[in-house]
């Protein structure tokens, strides 16, 4: 496989920051491609974990943050588990997600950042996940309201999903965590 690296955008220490955020050492990657061959979404993505590793190591620029693996990755950790060098490949993808959001890389099919935001917002408000509200917020954001809605009547009838939020969680501590995380944005980790 040929990997072409175009320095179209300023790299702004991408490799260095990813290593710092993930704690992984990119230089020890053998390019054995075990991560890519075991990746469950390798049929759906153009970019592969091993390719991301190589491009990062070769000082790729911010164009790397547009790679489809970043938001198609299911965080299953198969890559990290099978890496013969013990590289935390999944942690590298997490770091790239954070940078993709910070550097406003394009949103991709499915809009995972919107889902994560909707999920975490209900946690911030209620202290625990409120599934129905989270799903509604995500669907409103994507405009695709009808997907899956045919399942809700049965789920509600069977008691498979709760309509009301739980208010028993310690909301004070959770709000403090979100407040502190926002304050620390841009800190080392």
């Amino acid at each position: 496989m040929t990997i072409t690296i175009r320095k179209t955008k300023k790299s702004d220490r991408l490799k260095e920051i990813v290593e710092q955020l993930s704690g992984a050492d990119l230089s020890i990657c053998l390019q054995c491609k075990k991560c890519s061959s075991g990746c469950p979404v390798n049929k759906q993505t153009v970019s592969r974990p091993s390719e991301i590793m190589r491009r990062l190591h070769l000082n790729a620029g911010d164009e790397l943050l547009e790679s489809d693996i970043i938001w198609t990755c299911v965080s299953c950790e198969t890559c990290s588990t099978r890496c013969p060098m013990g590289i935390e490949v999944a942690a590298i993808i997490d770091a790239l997600r954070k940078l993709a959001l910070e550097r406003k890389a394009s949103k991709q099919k499915g809009n995972v950042p919107l889902f994560n935001k909707a999920f975490l917002k209900t946690v911030e408000i209620f202290g625990r996940t409120y599934e129905i509200a989270m799903i509604a917020a995500y669907k409103l954001g994507t405009g695709k309201f009808m997907n899956d809605t045919e399942k809700f009547p049965t789920m509600i009838k069977k008691g498979k999903i709760s309509l009301i939020p739980s208010l028993h969680g310690d909301r004070k501590i959770v709000r403090r965590i979100f407040k502190k995380t926002k304050e620390n944005k841009g800190a080392k980790v």
Partner: protein, 292 residues
């Protein structure tokens, strides 16, 4: 046996069946489960995909409450279990993260709470012998594909749950209650749970593959221990049918539901009615066995 039981948010909604069957099984085996007051969300996948400190602080908020109780934390949701252990690992091995987490939760926490999965408690603390004695109705003749997914076993150096490529913990439980745990290749494949709503196309493909493997191996049902896997494999069978014409009608049950059934607990108390794909084949088999 007394533990601090962390149910996880799904337990109050889409995994109430897991929650009810866990508590029923615990009660039948004399395990005392105490919920930590005010427990909060572990942050799940959304947390660690967003920020490393947030991802360690959200579990720490509940872990520190369990620390005060002086008990081991028992979790049955594989996703929560994973986040709790990952947070403990981050906090206990990286002093900078520990400082940030303690600042975020407003308390000192060292990452020392012992986090256990309910299956591990069943195998190590209760033991197969005791479980065997509790069996009233054998699951004889029921072919079960035990599905572990991702979060129970990976990453192995932190989870230390079982063999990451060929785990057998759930299989041992199925066997001791008389069921037949089948050999199949989908045990630790990923069902794509985290992308269930955002990339349904990917998830339909992954669940189709897993269900296909289980069916090919002759499974009557799939036993899981993760609410994300359960909902995903159960719910997406409708979409697979629509898109591919393949109709699996494969019940996706929690291992605790199977255990409960074998202990003679009523299916209603184990949340069987909540399953999208009805588990009538399992219930019939158990009824048939108990009449013999």
């Amino acid at each position: 046996m007394r533990y601090a039981y962390y149910p996880g948010c799904s337990a109050e909604s889409t995994a109430r069946d897991m929650h009810e069957s866990t508590l029923a099984v615990a009660k039948a085996l004399g395990i005392e489960m105490v919920e930590p007051k005010g427990w909060t969300c572990c942050g799940a996948t959304a947390g660690h995909q967003t920020d490393r400190i947030l991802a360690a602080s959200l579990p720490a908020a509940s872990l520190v409450k369990v620390k005060d109780m002086g008990l081991d934390m028992v979790v049955n949701c594989a996703a929560c279990y994973n986040r709790m252990k990952m947070a403990n690992n981050e906090i206990s091995t990286d002093s900078e993260i520990r400082t940030s987490v303690c600042d975020a939760i407003g308390r000192d926490y060292d990452g020392s709470v012992n986090v256990r999965h309910f299956v591990e408690v069943l195998l190590k603390d209760v033991g197969l012998e005791t479980i065997k004695k509790a069996v009233k109705h054998s699951l004889k003749g029921l072919k079960v594909a035990c599905y572990y997914g991702c979060l129970l076993v990976r990453p192995p150096k932190v989870m230390k749950f079982d063999d990451p490529e060929n785990p057998t913990s759930l299989d041992k439980l199925v066997k001791v209650i008389g069921g037949e745990s089948i050999d199949w290749s989908g045990k630790v494949e990923c069902c794509g749970g985290g992308l269930s709503l955002t990339r349904t196309d990917v998830v339909v493909d992954l669940t189709d593959s897993i269900l296909g493997m289980a069916q090919k191996a002759g499974a009557d049902c799939i036993a899981v221990s993760c609410p994300m896997c359960q909902v995903n494999l159960d719910l997406r069978q409708q979409d697979i049918k629509k898109q591919t014409g393949r109709d699996y009608e494969m019940p996706i049950v929690y291992i605790t539901q199977l255990l409960g059934l074998s202990f003679g607990i009523s299916p209603d108390k184990l949340g069987f009615k909540k399953l999208m794909v009805p588990a009538s084949n399992i219930l019939e088999k158990v009824a048939q066995n108990s009449n013999e």
